[in-house]
């Protein structure tokens, strides 16, 4: 029982990271029916830029904690810029020529380019990311948990809540929602839907970059950290439903916990398998995802 609880707690923080990345997929899918196949690379770049900034700040004799706090805005801004670049180079031209699949290949290509550039700047090895919180585990009723794991869950929830609040209560957010509902009608109402799409990409990569600096102190960082995370988040997005905000959180938690359980009870080698299995099962049973609604297409 103790072990099971421990596994679930460990799965929670991983699951939240998946959830945040999948949340990023949702943001862009809602406004443009496209998503960034290089989202994992956005996370990786965010994390590496964060590492460099943090090391610089620590070098300026600012403590790790305050250094981390000062680094966050830098990473968020960087993520937003990176996302805009992806949209500008990879997605906009594809949407303009109404290509069904061009954006998939273009975002993959950009992901490959970003990874290659990162390898040349930061090297191919995994790097240690200084933790802003004590690394000693807390013992809560026999369950060991790292302070940073708690920070991941809190940070992820705060980020998603902030975006939700923005979408609901600000006029810019309403433009985003309107564009999600009907891009053409929103355009006719004077909303610059192209800017909304760019904005959603900026927001999406920003979330991924944020997830990158959240997870990096617990795992390691490096040019190759992104691919697997981006992939897992695909599974989460489909399991939860590409159109459901609650879905990604629950989907992320389901996947995170299933993985730690599989890793412990079967073999760490098979840790990545349940993602695909769950993905196929959910698509067979509820194609719109556990929490998604089936859209009725009008003829």
């Amino acid at each position: 029982m103790q072990i099971l609880l421990q596994l679930i707690v460990s799965g929670l923080s991983v699951g939240m990271v998946y959830g945040v990345i999948a949340f990023g997929y949702q943001l862009t899918f809602a406004t443009s029916r496209t998503l960034n196949f290089g989202q994992g690379e956005a996370l990786m770049l965010g994390s590496l830029v964060g590492l460099t900034t943090l090391n610089f700040l620590i070098g300026q004799a600012i403590g790790t904690f305050w250094g981390y706090m000062l680094m966050l805005p830098v990473v968020l801004v960087f993520g937003a810029i990176q996302g805009s670049v992806v949209e500008w180079l990879g997605v906009r031209p594809a949407l303009r020529v109404k290509s069904e699949s061009g954006w998939i290949m273009a975002t993959i290509a950009l992901g490959i380019i970003f990874r290659n550039l990162a390898e040349n700047v930061w090297g191919r090895d995994a790097l240690k990311f200084p933790s802003p919180l004590p690394e000693a585990s807390l013992n809560l009723g026999g369950v060991r948990i790292q302070p940073m794991e708690i920070a991941i869950v809190v940070g992820a929830v705060v980020l998603m809540a902030a975006v939700e609040v923005f979408n609901r209560y600000s006029i810019y957010g309403k433009a985003v929602v309107a564009t999600s509902n009907d891009r053409e009608a929103a355009g006719l109402m004077g909303i610059d839907t192209r800017r909304v799409v760019t904005f959603s990409y900026a927001l999406s990569s920003m979330s991924a970059a944020f997830a990158g600096v959240l997870v990096a102190p617990v795992t390691l960082t490096g040019a190759n950290m992104g691919a697997v995370l981006g992939l897992k988040a695909f599974a989460v997005a489909i399991i939860g439903g590409l159109s459901s905000g609650v879905g990604v959180v629950v989907g992320g938690l389901i996947l995170g916990i299933t993985e730690t359980l599989t890793g412990y009870y079967i073999s760490t080698g098979y840790k990545d398998v349940p993602g695909l299995v769950l993905l196929l099962v959910v698509l067979s049973v509820r194609p719109a995802g556990l929490f998604g609604r089936t859209a009725i297409k009008k003829v």
């Binding site: 029916r33 496209t34 998503l35 196949f37 180079l89 990879g90 031209p93 594809a94 020529v97 290509s99 069904e100 699949s101 061009g102 998939i104 290949m105 273009a106 993959i108 290509a109 950009l110 992901g111 490959i112 380019i113 990874r115 290659n116 550039l117 390898e119 040349n120 691919a227 697997v228 992939l231 695909f234 599974a235 997005a237 489909i238 590409l242 073999s267 080698g269 098979y270 990545d272 398998v273 993602g275 695909l276 993905l279 196929l280 099962v281 698509l283 067979s284 194609p287 719109a288 009725i296 297409k297 003829v299």
Partner: protein, 659 residues
């Protein structure tokens, strides 16, 4: 023409091992042939159905590892491995496609991407079965020992190594030629038409009884089967396979190959395969890379200049790609160590191809050299007068005296809005039933409920004795309900004849084997269907336009073609959604005559129409809807006088005045 191409291909294959004596380059040719099998298969999915697969490298791996398992654990060699690997890989294809294609969107790409990663992990982990990361060795088989015939074959190298290489080359080449042949035949068959149709208009495809879902799955499974074949050939050609042969990057390369070579052609994917096989060499040698980059820049500059001079494109559209090519050349010159930036260069190549070469090299050359000639005349007049190919046939009949269609208290709710609120109606066999009402009264919603586009929230729909409410469109279509669309939904890029042939999809029986082997039964079937299609076109007065692309027809003719295509389904009930909208007066007269003929042949018709003269002159009974409710029903002249109908159309004042 095509015979000459085939002959040239066969001759090229025969002499290739004599022209290419280096074992290295011969092996490269074999790899190109094997990868071509994959890319040709991928083109069926990616080019024709428009779905993206990022798992073709993994499927190739499954083919190779099936061969590995068979040879390691069962001592089975190349020949038994081929059919088994094809079956196994097709099975995996079905496992992926069946769930992933249920929803439209980038789901197949996401699922196959995940699959690709998992396959690599599993091959690594399941060491008992696959030998894990250590990989598996193969021995290239010798099929035929030609040393005893040394005197008769003086021009052949008789060393064991060379014999194996040459024979394996021939094997791979034959496999490639067979692949091309089969794909050509499948694409020319009803399947190929279905693949094209489902992209043009998925909804019309479903309503013609050609399930979009089913045919996308078929395309993917077919494509996976070719990966299985290629996988076995690849394993025995490389003589060693390991999990990292089948990476995500390879899948992306396959996609790049199809796009760069040119989608929807045979030459394109082969050209693309040659490029990706040669790519590592290109990216390993900086001098060569600079030369190629320079060449591309030169071609882009010259091509761009020509285009501007001939005023084919504006300079704005040309400037960006040309500048990019030149910048790329400059980058190549500045580059010190190419290996560090290999992947980035690969990424830039993809971007360039996606945006500036979307039709691929083949498509680009076709556009540059020749404007494509118009569609060939496919109709053979000798076929067109066969007695068994009657234009109208009916598949379902009402059970003795009962109504053909009875709709009972149907409710269709969209959120809070009830588009249909407890509507009942019944259509007698062989009658024309009008469905009228002001805009937004629920007529088209009713059509969509009847054809399975929407599943009704509540209520029953019985057709020819069976309950069809909530059934899927293709099922309902095959049960005998055909329709046309208010906003015309033709398969624009198919010819007029082919549009009708998609409607006749249900009349075919032959499967892939019969089509691939071109059995006489399959040929007969196709000929009969074409004759039937010509008769249908004659019936709706479009015979002379059979070879024209559907999107080129004038609007009125497009509506007639939709009726023809619907008739091809052999329906018992035909739903016409505003067939007269946008038609000129003479067109309308023609339309009325055609609808009468259809009724006289025994079909029932439901007619939605705003032209009251058409409704009044044709209909045996009329149902009037308003705000989702039925407000009147009966003979046309009675309905016309009904005050509630007048009120619905003209407002209450008008009703009082009429009364």
């Amino acid at each position: 023409m095509s015979r000459i191409v085939w002959l040239a291909a066969i001759v090229a294959v025969l002499v290739a091992p004599y022209a290419v004596t280096s074992p290295y380059y011969l092996h490269l040719l074999v790899t190109i042939a094997i990868f071509s099998i994959v890319t040709l298969g991928l083109d069926v999915v990616f080019g024709y159905t428009g779905e993206v697969s990022l798992g073709h490298a993994a499927l190739l791996g499954i083919g190779s590892y099936t061969a590995a398992v068979l040879s390691m654990h069962f001592g089975l060699g190349l020949w038994p491995a081929i059919p088994i690997a094809i079956t196994v890989t097709a099975g995996f294809g079905a496992l992926l496609a069946l769930p992933a294609l249920r929803v439209t969107g980038p789901y197949l790409a996401m699922v196959t991407l995940a699959f690709g990663t998992i396959v690599q992990i599993l091959i690594n982990e399941m060491t008992d079965l696959t030998n894990g990361p250590l990989g598996v060795k193969f021995v290239t088989p010798l099929f035929f020992d030609w040393r005893p015939y040394a005197k008769m074959l003086p021009f052949l190298d008789m060393s064991m190594k060379r014999m194996k290489e040459m024979q394996y080359f021939y094997l791979a080449a034959v496999a490639l030629l067979l692949t091309i042949l089969v794909i050509n035949r499948v694409l020319a068959s009803r399947y190929g038409r279905a693949f094209e149709a489902l992209r043009d208009s998925p909804i019309a495809c479903d309503c013609m009884g050609v399930s979009v879902y089913k045919h996308k799955v078929i395309a993917f499974v077919l494509s996976a089967a070719f990966c299985g074949l290629a996988g076995v050939l690849f394993a025995y050609s490389e003589q060693y396979v390991a999990p990292n042969n089948f990476t995500f990057e390879l899948s992306v390369q396959f996609l790049l190959a199809v796009t760069m070579g040119g989608r929807k052609s045979r030459l394109g994917p082969i050209l693309g395969a040659a490029i990706i096989v040669y790519l590592p060499n290109l990216l390993a040698d900086i001098a060569l890379f600079r030369i190629v980059a320079g060449g591309i820049a030169a071609v882009a500059l010259i091509g761009g200049t020509i285009s501007i001079v001939r005023e084919r494109e504006s300079w704005r559209r040309i400037a960006a790609p040309v500048a990019l090519c030149i910048a790329f050349f400059a980058f190549a010159l500045a580059l010190q160590k190419i290996t560090d930036f290999k992947l980035a260069i690969f990424g830039v190549m993809i971007l360039f191809v996606v945006y500036y070469l979307p039709d691929g090299i083949v498509g680009f050359l076709q556009r540059l050299v020749v404007r494509r000639a118009g569609a060939k005349i496919l109709a053979d007049p000798a076929l067109a007068s066969r007695p068994e190919a009657e234009p109208i046939a009916i598949r379902a009949r009402a059970e003795g005296g009962a109504a053909l269609l009875s709709v009972d208290e149907v409710v269709m709710r969209f959120g809070g809005l009830k588009a249909l609120d407890g509507v009942s109606l019944s259509v007698a066999p062989g009658s024309i039933h009008g469905l009228i009402g002001p805009n937004g009264s629920g007529k088209s919603t009713m059509m969509n409920v009847l054809t399975g586009v929407y599943a009704p929230t509540d209520g029953r729909v019985r057709f020819a004795g069976a309950d069809i409410a909530g059934h899927k469109s293709p099922e309902i279509a095959l049960a005998g309900i055909a329709r046309t669309f208010q906003n015309v939904q033709l398969f624009g890029e198919l010819s007029v004849l082919e549009n009708v042939l998609v409607g006749l999809h249900h009349s075919y029986r032959s499967g892939f084997f019969a089509i691939g082997a071109r059995l006489p039964s399959a040929k007969r079937e196709e000929a009969l269907a074409r004759a039937r299609a010509m008769n249908i076109l004659e019936f709706v007065g479009l015979k002379a336009l059979a070879a024209e692309e559907a999107r080129n027809l004038p609007y009125g003719k497009q509506r007639l073609l939709e009726i023809g295509r619907a008739l091809a389904l052999d329906p018992a009930l035909l739903l016409l959604d505003e067939p007269a909208a946008g038609l000129t007066a003479p067109d309308i007269t023609e339309l009325i005559a055609i609808i009468r003929k259809i009724r006289d042949a025994g079909l029932s018709v439901i007619l939605i129409e705003h032209h009251m003269d058409v409704v009044m002159s044709l209909c045996d009974a009329v149902t009037v809807l308003d705000f989702g409710q039925k407000i009147a029903e009966g003979r046309p002249e009675a309905v016309q006088r009904d005050p509630r109908v007048i009120e619905a159309y003209l407002g209450s004042g008008a009703a009082a005045h009429a009364a």
